[in-house]
């Protein structure tokens, strides 16, 4: 500690090390939050259901998504990324996941929402397996922290079915 430069360097290094510790503890404190998210998705209408020129099925839906993700926000949350995926099984693939809609929720106040929208991304199958298909609509979310580990979870809602014939 014999010179100005030495002291400044020592201080800076130690300060940054302690900052790393603070951020690690802040991230660890997220494990103690009690999370009770809820969601509901309704299919209001099947707008159209056709076979594309290349032979793949495509369907357009109008969805009503109601969700309360407010309990996912902690003091260490930067934003929550939520998306709705349609999941179903075909003879070719054990699991197909098609993302229909997503949103970035930057604040707790915006996390309780109700939205009626037609699917943001196209629901196209790899093949023509969708007629009469039973599928789940799953709301996935990723909680993105200000520091530390991101964690993801989902709610699976089942019982949806596509019509037996093209419209």
């Amino acid at each position: 500690m014999h010179s100005f430069g030495y002291r400044a360097n020592a201080l800076l290094t130690f300060a940054v090390t302690i900052l790393a510790f603070i951020c690690a503890i802040a991230s660890f404190s997220d494990n103690f939050s009690n999370q009770t998210p809820s969601a509901q998705i309704q299919i209001l209408n099947i707008n159209w259901f056709q076979k594309q020129p290349h032979g793949n099925d495509e369907v357009s839906l109008t969805l009503n998504v109601t969700a309360d993700l407010q309990s996912l926000f902690t003091w260490n949350t930067k934003q929550v990324f939520a998306f709705v995926a349609a999941e179903y099984e075909t003879s070719k693939n054990a699991l197909n996941q098609v993302s229909l809609w997503d949103a970035i929720i930057p604040e707790k106040e915006h996390a309780k929402f109700w939205i009626q929208i037609s699917n943001k991304y196209r629901f196209i199958d790899q093949g023509h397996n969708l007629r009469g298909k039973d599928f789940n609509l799953t709301l996935h979310w990723h909680v993105m922290p200000k520091t530390g580990k991101m964690f993801a979870d989902k709610i699976v809602m089942s019982g949806y079915r596509l019509p037996n014939a093209y419209r």
Binding site: M1, H2, F4, R7, A8, A10, L11, F14, A15, I18, L19, F21, I22, I25, A26, S29, T74, W75, N76, K146
Partner: protein, 92 residues
């Protein structure tokens, strides 16, 4: 800065930074504000810099006792004998 001052600086620096960190963490967690935590910590780092980095007078209260000049003259420095002048025998 003298030796006692340097020791004091090292201790003060570590203690002040750790305390800033702990206070920042506790206040930030209880107010649920990440921003508050960062601001308190930044303030703590600035405070620590002002206290420990400049050469304040109170770090020099135990100055080194250099040897008195009269005492030093009694013990003259040894003369350097150059290797090239081997022909001359230089006796003291």
């Amino acid at each position: 800065m003298d030796w006692q001052g340097q020791k004091l600086v090292e201790q003060l620096m570590q203690i002040l930074l750790v305390i800033s960190g702990v206070v920042a963490l506790v206040v930030g967690y209880t107010t649920e504000s990440f921003r508050t935590m960062m601001l308190i910590y930044a303030g703590g780092v600035v405070l620590t810099t002002l206290v420990t980095v400049p050469n304040w007078p109170f770090y020099n209260h135990h100055p080194l006792k250099w040897l008195d000049p009269s005492e030093a003259e009694k013990h003259p420095k040894p003369e350097v004998v150059s290797v090239a002048s081997k022909k001359k025998f230089s006796k003291k």
